[in-house]
Assembly symmetry: C2
Homo-oligomer: 734 residues x 2
């Protein structure tokens, strides 16, 4: 550490020197360079909230850099995908490939199977867990850890809930068993305890309401009270309680995780500070030059003007060096997306300035920008909707479709004429991208379809289906014309990354259940195709299902015979309706196994995971909807305004064409006045690229900075109870 | 006002005098008395958050007192109940009473009906609105107002959601209409747009999953993707979004309402303060004696020791008078339930001290208090559960039932022997009350049943049913033995009052829909009784239903022929399952009317009200579960501890026998040391008697006291946007 301090000492004098000179010298100093690399590793670790606690040797740092390189990551992702898609090709399979294609566990299975041992391949079940143990899937791992931590609390509610169902079942048995009623299908009604319990558990899912009540309700109106009380207590109150407990507990643990992350980030930034620090009077500081070296290595892709802006934000009082507290702020600052704006010259203006600046050309530009232009196209979309609903075999409609496609193409071309193309297709221009892709794809599809039709006489159904979907999707554009809808939609779009994390979690769980289900139920239920003449089709090829509701409702396609079917079936079970019919079908075939499998799936997915999903969407929505910027963002914005580099034009959020982009060319260092005259900055619309950023934003207000940041070991052992409780007093209210 | 001030001036000297003398004199002073009455009205208004803005004349105050008297309130409640129950006796009715029994609108209807005019009695629909306009139903009115305020925001989401369903419907039409598929019942599948739209709207409720997907899924696995995407977007994301928007907006408006309440309370307390105030040096104050008079009139039922405790809390520095700020605190203080505890002597100890204090007697008491005693009864309950599940016609089980009843009786008697009866049956001893009532009722029921059996040979089914239910309910007691379950159950029990407010709201809405439904659909669907031989029973007496799923599933009992049936049907619709079967049944009979009615009911109840209910339960649960005491409670507790009058024994929350009660006998004034030696106080477990208290507790932290309290008119016009926004800065985070 003293090396860094000493090296820093050497450099402190140069902080006031012109900046360009000292970079090469710093790179020549090898010991210093390695220290700098270490600091870079710490800072980028802090920036991305990575949790690697590496050895402080330069080799380890280089290894770490390699590990985090996109190509390494890409290869790992690829192998995980391959691993997961193996499920498609193994027995039971969609396309049965030779068995030697799969991995080691497959060979073992093969050896066992060949020698006549009946083998269940448990290893397949564990396959998706690879995702969880993968470094980049931090969020997934954290979600799993949180669920594990939340489980004890849920268990208590769950036991109480099961007890409640058990007591109601006993009551139902006592009330109805003696009456010898029969269900709609003629089976005895509530005749034994297990039967009653299962029926009432299904009623909690609401899947058999009101059928389960009807026999008793027909006898007397008063019996309906029993079922109404049951539904209120178990479906509404207990399920809300589940949501509440899950929400409460999950949030508590999440907050603890976020706090750990923040501490960890501070701790790492302090390590980096200690490496780079140099003595300035009584305090340790990091000089500007040293800081610039660091940022250049940490974030090589940001332009120097942007870097200087960050420096201004941190070095608020223009002292030329940073103290420890200011230095720590860098990790958060690097995560804010700052957009540098420039008025670009339209390529046409460059090529033929006279034509582009002519009156007619200007008129076209003004026309495109006019709101009447937008309204016209809204009307066209509505007329198009009517045509889409019509019969597409009608030649008039086919011709109209070509007309509409042409109109939409003209719109895009006009917009490209009026707006600078690179601005039009900038990163955040969601609607422009959407429009162009939909129209171009529809154009290609329609052409392909027409070509096929005129050549072969009949068009491919797949292409036609895709063309239809593209046509309908075009209508979505109308949302963009209403401000309120646009805001709502933007909120939804911004939530997608965070939702995807939980979708990932669900994929892992569905995959595990699908594989288990395939092992347990493969081949038990057969689907013979639509309108099959095979007599076995009436009972799904399994005599046990003769006369069952499962077969009567034609559910034979809902089976575990291959991975896609299994996933679809599991999604149907998640939606819960007809849950008991699906479950009973499998119970008739495999008895206890199916009963356990379906109930466990319901508890894990519907009661726990879906509730966590809802809780997370709710919380994320509140944060998104409040539109509050984070503290760091506010600080940057303030500084941008102070420096007079703010965006004077008020762009509506998500408007069709926003003149903003990230600049790739570095403008080099420039003094304040220069910076001021040439550049405009603006913070990109709040879009959380990582769940971490959203989480931190969520709990920002509650995470007070303690002076004492715990050590790394202490951070690992933090529990939600370690949170400082806000003391309430009489005085701070009345 | 000067009268009060002058009167106060007269009394200020007496503040230090012994307290007992001045009361009579104050009551003699008539002008003063009326001013005091006015202050009392203000304070009790503030205490209960009433919003009456009465004239400041003594007559008005007396009128107001009369209006708020329990008997007046009782009469009004009675008439509202009568009004609501009229629905039972009017046509369509359960018991058809002579028509002259009902009110004026009935006569008008009668006159019209007699003269051959077909009349729809719209006035009935408005009947439940009486509840809403009734003063005591403040919470109900507020809930209605909040929902009205939340509607605009929901409307945007709703339109977007409907647009999404419409676009998906168009896609489905394009994908499936050409294929000429058929549903499980042989009907054409997705053949016209309205049909597709209705089916997909039903899929949002999940009621027709997976049936609606099966025909397409049978053709190709790929089509299931369409339905999966539909369910994810519309059922999961949009429904979560509804919950989020409702939650967010509802909370915002609720917060505004609570803030108004708090301001109103402060404003009223200031009015009361201005009436009672007296000049003390530079500042206006209320002296102790005056304050005591006020509290005696406002809360006549609290003992004087308790009153003195409140004074100590307010007059923290023992100055003998209260400033404005301290005086305002009174309204909140009065709402905290403080329990005065005393060690009561057991009546048996009084009657025969020698026997009660004997070694055997003490041994019994120790036995009852021992945990083994509780465990023994837990085991007995479990054995009892097994016996209950058995066949009750078995003579062994009948005998066992007597044995169990005896055992439970012995338990209660033993406990009454060991504990002081008044403490055992104190207000908050939920489980003791529960046990005793269940056992005594079961005993009476069993005796009545046995008597009937031995005399008439056959017992009444009703009595038997009740006895069965009581027997099963007994098992619930076992929850009490597990600490975690007890805590959860207490949380639930504490939420009941707040849930009831929303239940009231739901009753109003259900009643309106039930009456509308009765007017629209009465007599259209008939139920002929169980196993009726009438051939019309197969199609519910309406030829339009021949061959329908409604008739096939034996849903004839689900009709609008009388109020109870209508309510049960509406609850079934709330549960959502088989929603489309029920709706389609009525659509077959009355076409468009039914379609509109069922969809409107779904939107109002399932999408809006149930979400608000869940939002409120969640929020209330978080407050309850945090177990944080409110600021006022903390202040009282602190004072109790300071005065050394705290409860030294640590009672577990909700334990079976807590030695606490509210004392009825006033112990008179006593000085500090005296008070200290004789009394023990403790704050009753947090149980919100009013929703207001809970709401205030919820938003307490966010309602910062402004120095400037708005005037009454300003308070009425406050909007959520008037809330001061917390500014975020860089400094308060990093």
């Amino acid at each position: 550490m003293w090396v860094a301090a000493a090296a820093g000492q050497l450099q402190v004098d140069k902080a006031e020197e012109p900046v360009s000179g000292d970079m090469g010298r710093a790179e020549l100093n090898l010991a210093d360079d390695e220290q700098l690399l270490l600091a870079v590793a710490y800072v980028s670790d802090a920036q991305y909230n990575r949790n690697i606690q590496f050895e402080t040797s330069p080799q380890a740092v280089r290894f770490y850099k390699l590990y985090n390189h996109w190509s390494t990551q890409g290869i790992t992702y690829f192998f995980i995908l391959v691993d997961l898609f193996l499920g498609l090709f193994e027995e039971p399979a969609v396309y049965l490939l030779p068995l030697w294609l799969t991995l080691l566990d497959m060979i073992v299975y093969l050896a066992l199977a060949q020698n006549g041992y009946p083998a269940v391949r448990w290893s397949r079940v564990l396959r998706p867990l690879f995702c969880v143990n993968f470094t980049e899937s931090r969020q997934l791992r954290r979600a799993f850890r949180n669920i594990r931590n939340t489980l004890p609390e849920i268990t208590y509610v769950f036991v109480l809930f099961m007890f409640s169902v058990a007591v109601f079942s006993l009551m139902a048995l006592k009330l109805f068993a003696k009456r010898k009623l029969s269900t709609g299908e003629g089976a005895p009604y509530f005749s034994n305890y297990l039967d009653v319990f299962f029926n009432l558990y299904v009623l909690v899912t609401t899947a058999n309401s009101p059928d389960v009540m009807m026999p008793a309700y027909e006898v007397s109106w008063a019996y309906s009270i029993f079922f109404i009380v049951f539904v209120i207590v178990n479906t509404y109150v207990f399920m809300s309680l589940f949501l509440a407990v899950v929400y409460n507990d999950y949030k508590k643990h999440l907050k603890n995780e976020v706090r750990k992350l923040v501490y960890m980030k501070h701790r790492k930034m302090i390590e980096a500070f200690n490496i780079l620090k140099t003595k300035n009077g009584a305090e340790f500081v990091v000089p500007h030059s040293r800081w610039r070296q660091l940022v250049k290595l940490v974030a090589a892709d940001i332009p120097s003007s942007h870097r200087e802006l960050l420096w201004r934000v941190l070095d608020d009082e223009q002292k030329g060096y940073l103290g420890r507290e200011s230095f720590i702020g860098l990790a958060d600052l690097l995560n804010i997306q700052i957009v540098q704006m420039k008025d670009r010259v339209h390529p046409l203006e460059k090529c033929m300035p006279r034509v582009y600046r002519s009156t007619i050309s200007k008129l076209i530009c003004r026309m495109v920008a006019h709101r009447a232009f937008r309204y016209t196209y809204d009307v066209i979309i509505i007329i198009n909707a009517i045509f889409i609903a019509g019969d597409e075999m009608n030649p008039l409609i086919t011709k109209a479709e070509w007309a509409f496609l042409t109109l939409y193409l003209i719109e895009i071309l006009l917009k490209l004429y009026a707006h600078e193309p690179r601005a039009f297709f900038a990163k955040f221009q969601f609607w422009n991208w959407f429009d162009t892709i939909i129209i171009v794809a529809a154009l290609l599809g329609t052409i392909a379809n027409t070509a096929l039709k005129s050549s072969g006489g009949y068009s491919s159904q797949q292409i036609l289906d895709i063309v239809f979907i593209l046509r309908v999707l075009r209508l979505i554009r109308i949302i963009d014309s209403f401000h309120r809808f646009r805001v709502l939609l933007n909120t939804l779009v911004n939530l997608i990354p965070t939702m995807l994390t939980y979708a990932g979690l669900l994929v892992v769980v569905y995959y595990i259940f699908a594989v288990v289900g395939m092992e347990a139920f493969k081949g038990r239920i057969h689907f013979y195709g639509v309108n099959s003449s095979n007599p076995a089709a009436a009972y799904c090829g399994n005599p046990a299902l003769k006369g069952s509701q499962f077969a009567a409702l034609k559910y034979c396609r809902n089976n575990f015979n291959n991975l896609p079917s299994a996933i679809v079936l599991l999604i149907e079970l998640t939606v819960v309706n007809q849950w008991h019919v699906l479950a009973t079908g499998f119970v008739m075939v495999t008895h206890l196994t199916a009963r356990i499998f379906f109930v466990v799936f319901h508890i894990v997915v519907v009661i726990i995971l879906i509730n966590i999903f809802i809780a997370f969407v709710l919380e994320a929505f509140f944060v998104e909807h409040s539109l509050a910027r984070s503290a760091v963002e506010t600080a940057i914005e303030k500084k941008i305004q102070e420096l007079g580099m703010g965006d004077s034009v008020d762009h509506p959020v998500g408007s069709l064409v926003e003149v903003m982009e990230t600049s790739e060319n570095d403008l080099g260092n420039s003094d304040n006045s220069n910076l001021k005259s040439r550049l405009r900055f603006r913070i990109a619309s709040i879009r959380y690229k990582t769940v971490d950023a959203l989480l931190q934003h969520m709990f920002e207000g509650e995470l007070k900075p303690e002076d004492e940041i715990p050590t790394l070991e202490e951070i690992d052992n933090l529990t939600p109870d370690d949170f400082p409780q806000k003391p309430q007093t009489f005085d701070n209210v009345t």
